[in-house]
Symmetry: C2
Subunit: 324 residues, 2 copies
């Protein structure tokens, strides 16, 4: 851990949904709220039933509010589904599941955006109402749409993910609206903060959760110029994604389905990676790529797992930083 006298104490975490939420939460257990900024992917945001839905922001907020459903992996625990049942009865669109409690978030967010608040402001107010003291920031206040390129054509993320169950063969991603978008102020502020000690890429899907964040105008350049370690935590253990289609996507674009594939995808964008004990045999191959490695338990099944992984990840970042 960093010394208390270290002026470099700000940690910037880049996160997608559930895996990102877990490590970000782990970081919150070892960092003061004012020394942690969590930037969340909004490329999955979409309009459905008239609502602005931000699936990754919700996963992170619900996790920090302590109301996330750990079994289902999304939405709110002890959820009920009477809205969906009634909607189904009157012929409404039911391909995207929304719980009765979860719906309140979508309604309130949509209302506030319609009243002219930015997504950052809405997120801040949602956090305040859940008494979340950490700084959770959408990657952008602009509307960006992640488009999944497949052998069967291009699909908006939710169509690919929910309607098509990720079945079409993945060939890449691009982002609608990215050229006119800007990173949110809370994101750029943390990047230009002299106290910035590390950028942590959470174990989220690199293509659809992290790449949108890194693709925001100026971000890759800024990260390259920053003399701050960028450390990823592998979302792949063995040859499997902890959750979601990351393993399938790696395979389909011809990258190794292992933490090595993650390293190859992030290429020069990361300085270090945290991989699971199960993948310890890959350590030397990754080091050959010029990337520092820390081997530890990466599956997070408890707050303690989250905390330990956060500590280990920060330790690797600190070690890289001290090396210069």
């Amino acid at each position: 851990m960093q010394s208390k006298k270290d002026p470099k104490k700000l940690v910037l975490a880049l996160a997608g949904g559930v895996g990102g939420a877990k490590l970000a939460h782990g970081l919150s257990l070892v960092k003061d709220p004012c020394d942690l900024v969590i930037v969340v992917n909004t490329g999955d945001d979409f309009t459905h039933l008239g609502f602005h839905i931000s699936p990754d922001l919700d996963s992170v907020i619900y996790k920090f509010a302590g109301i996330n459903d750990p079994i289902r992996g999304w939405g709110i625990e002890n959820e009920t589904w009477n809205f969906m049942d009634a909607l189904s009865r009157i012929g409404g669109e039911t391909w995207f599941n929304i719980g009765d409690r979860d719906l309140a978030t979508h309604v309130e967010r949509t209302q506030r955006l319609a009243e002219g608040q930015t997504l950052s402001e809405v997120t801040q107010e949602l956090c305040r109402s859940y008494k979340i003291s950490q700084n959770i920031v959408p990657m952008s206040d602009h509307r960006i749409g992640t488009i999944v390129d497949t052998e069967e054509g291009d699909f908006f993320f939710q169509d690919y993910f929910v309607k098509l169950s990720c079945k079409p063969v993945f060939t890449g991603v691009h982002f609608k609206g990215m050229e006119h978008a800007a990173p949110a102020l809370g994101f750029t502020d943390s990047l230009s903060n002299p106290a910035l000690a590390a950028v942590i890429i959470c174990p989220s899907n690199p293509f659809i959760s992290i790449e949108p964040i890194l693709s925001l105008p100026g971000i890759k350049n800024t990260l390259e110029k920053l003399r701050v370690p960028v450390v990823a935590v592998s979302p792949i253990i063995g040859n499997k994604s902890i959750k979601g289609p990351a393993a399938k996507m790696l395979a389909e674009i011809g990258l190794p389905v292992s933490p090595l594939g993650i390293v190859k995808f992030y290429e020069k964008k990361i300085d270090g990676i945290v991989i699971d004990q199960f993948d310890a045999h890959l350590e030397q191959d990754i080091v050959k790529e010029g990337i520092e490695v820390l081997v530890t338990k990466t599956l997070m099944s408890s707050f303690n797992d989250e905390k330990l992984l956060a500590e280990n990840t920060l330790n690797l970042a600190n070690k890289i930083r001290k090396k210069g």
Copy 2:
């Protein structure tokens, strides 16, 4: 009842919320679906949380779908409130209660209106999905807002009704948007249908449920010219409203708080009125006003009550029609 050979068999019912829904349902138990048109007040419609909410249409639709909550008097039976609970937690507006199932109607209606459907079309599709074969028509496809005039100023209906619990002293009503509104096609079509046998004014609040319908451009004139009996059912029994603020409103504008007050309010717009046995002593006073009277049980606590009141009301209309 009318003879089967009578070509005049179309009945047009004007209805507000719960009381109107009950008598309209009673009419549906004695009339073929194609011989009944139910025109519903939309002056209470308002936008809340981004939704177009049509309280009276919903009361009628839920009643005909057999899913209305008879105890609460509005909304859907076996309702849950998890959306509202969650909304309250994140600081949303909670002065207007929306159940989880009820919400589906508002979401679907709002979506369809945003896609360009008229309120008549949306209502028709909602009825179809609930397998309602009766013709339920909003009074207008235009947006009209009932404004309640009080000694404390003018209030939108829902503000007066829900937020202020009808407390300010009532002085009258007016209707925002009425001058640019037109009656819905289903309404004007039934008025110009040569088969029209009777117009039934359901036992709804005369000021805030029926007056908006009658105030639509051309309606009062058309009703006057039509040689078709207009029969009201009194929403007042004794000196009390069966539900809502009708009695309070009659008192505050200086009309008798009794079926006689209803007669005086409707003035020359009705030919007959059905009053409760409890008010039998008023029969002669009402007849003096030139209005035909039928005395019967008007409180509807069962489908059978609804059916009997419908039959009695149609009998009075028929009697007036035969007199010419």
